[in-house]
Amino acid sequence: MKFLRMTLVAALRALRRNKMRSALTILGIVIGVAAVITTVGLGQGASEAVQSQIRSLGTNLLVVVPGTRTRGGAHSGWGGASTLSVTDARALEREATGIRAVSYIRRGSAQVLYGNSNWRTTIQATTPSYLDVSDSAMAQGDFFDERDMKNGARVAVLGGTLVGQLFEVGEDPIGAVLRIKEASFRVIGVLESKGGSSFGSDRDDLLLVPFTTGERRILGATLPGVVEQIIVSARTGASAHEASLEIEDILRQRHRLRPAQENDFTVHSQEEIANTMGSVTRILSSVLMGIASISLLVGGIGIMNILLVSVTERTREIGIRMAVGAKGSHILVQFLVEAMILSMIGGMIGIILGLVGTQVIAHFAEIPFVFSPGAIVGAVLFSGSVGIFFGFYPARKASNLDPIASLRYE
């Protein structure tokens, strides 16, 4: 213990004798550690951001779309067939146990007119349950209800983008009458903004109408009762995966598919998308961390380089120390301690700089700042081991020097 303190004192003295050199060596480690801390922090922040965005879509959301239709060997792609119907959705609602609510939609686009303004937007015909299933909320007014649905009421609920396009700032859209395809619709509510999706589309640029009304007045009823998507919200606590299996069972039965036949529909789950996005960000951040680790490695090589120079330069000093009673292990420990002091000081400064850097970048990139004690402990241990690892070779070289030759070294 006493010896360790002496060594520490001796090492600090030696490092002080070459201030500039020590500072530059430390700088190498500082940059390495700061880079690692920053990339780990930003990686975690980015994945946190992606996760929370996906969570806002609702992780227990399942979307059923029709399968492909094959005509003369050509597949039409997902959703090409018109195999899903309102009755399928009703059956799911009735029979599936792992399901909380079911909605279905059909979409088209149309020009919406109001006063002197007009805007082409997505018209989405859906059920009153859509609000709940899609995890949306009203910013103003109400969503349409079962009575509107039954009566085919000409009422509309607007997305935020559409409100901005059709109305003056400060104008109250509730009660306004819009014209769509020669029919008039009364605005009864405005959806709360969802923001752009993670795939870049504007999820607020739409107009919702009751399914029956939409089918009859806007989208055309060439195929009555056919839906584009069935949206299912799984029961909380129930796994979305189990719910999707149940949906498959029920729909296969209803569509009278033989065991050998492929599904004529597909069930997509948000969980699936969340997992994919999660692994994408994980891969990205580990790649970045790999790059950052390289700079730490370079810093470590810097320590090794400086210590090798130092051992050569201080050969005579090593000889003197040995002559006055230093054992090989004393010399070894002294150089290791010097290496560790360099790397630990570098590590400390690097952590502080890294945290500050993460916070600054996170602020400008609008990513949440994630403070991870694990990364800091890791960085301290890692920089310490970098010191030991890269210090060991020069230290061993020093401790194996022959005292007689060292004393004569010029």
Binding site: K2, R5, V324, G325, G328
Partner: protein
């Protein structure tokens, strides 16, 4: 009483590529406590090799080396390091002080490796520096000291652990005549007043003349072992003057 140093048939062989060189061929000598011995000889005579073995820096290829009743030839590297730290003080031709390090810290160096407390280190280093009249030089770095002062710091360092044996390898080789005499006088005083065993390697007869016994090496063997002049005739009349000057 046992002699401090006893060697029997000490031999050292070096391999220079394929050629084997015998640096020492059977040296047997015994040195008592309190002796002042000069080892002289031309370069290549084996005197430095002998000195390195006495200093436990090197081990003989053959033969026996007993230091204070302990056979040193068979000791490991670490055991020899410990022995050097405790029993032997070194003074070199090139002073061998650590650069950019204060005199005080240089003198403390042997204490670091013998587990002496920090306060005790400082106290003993101060004491040792004072003994050599370097009290006001303790914070100076070697580059700020004259050659004579540097060698005195080196002697202070050699003495700080109270060794049994002081080995001086050409201690005056880098000094002018006047400073050389000063250093030799210090070594003589240490030997006379404190009974310190001093072994001195030199090729200068005037320096060897300070010793009580002179061993002459030639081709790896001791060719003569004679009493020295003990400083007689080599201590010039200038010395008392110098003493006065120092006291003034």
């Amino acid at each position: 009483m046992n002699p401090l140093i006893e060697t029997h048939g000490l031999a050292k062989e070096f391999a220079r590529g394929d050629i084997r060189v015998l640096a020492l061929r059977g040296v047997s000598v015994s040195i008592q406590r309190g002796e002042f011995v000069a080892i002289v000889g031309k370069s290549g005579s084996g005197k430095s090799t002998f000195m390195n073995i006495l200093g436990c820096l090197d081990r003989p290829s053959e033969g026996k080396f007993v230091l204070e009743g302990q056979d040193v030839a068979g000791l490991s590297k670490d055991e020899r390091a410990e022995l050097r730290g405790q029993k032997i003080g070194f003074v070199f031709q090139a002073f061998n002080l650590i650069p950019r390090t204060s005199a005080q810290e240089n003198v403390e160096l042997p204490l670091i490796y013998s587990g002496v407390s920090r306060a005790e280190q400082a106290r003993r280093a101060q004491e040792s520096l004072e003994r050599l009249g370097l009290r006001d030089r303790s914070e100076h770095h070697p580059s700020q000291l004259s050659g004579g002062e540097q060698q005195r710091v080196a002697i202070a360092r050699a003495l700080v652990n109270h060794p049994q044996l002081l080995l001086a390898d050409e201690p005056t080789g880098n000094l002018d005549t006047r400073t050389s005499l000063e250093i030799m006088k210090i070594l003589m005083q240490l030997n006379r007043a404190e009974g310190l065993t001093v072994i001195l390697v030199t090729h200068e007869p005037e320096i060897a003349a300070f010793a009580d016994r002179v061993l002459t090496f030639k081709d790896g063997e001791i060719v003569s072992d004679e009493p020295g002049l003990s400083g007689e005739g080599v201590l010039p009349a200038s010395l008392p003057e110098e003493k006065e000057a120092k006291e003034a």
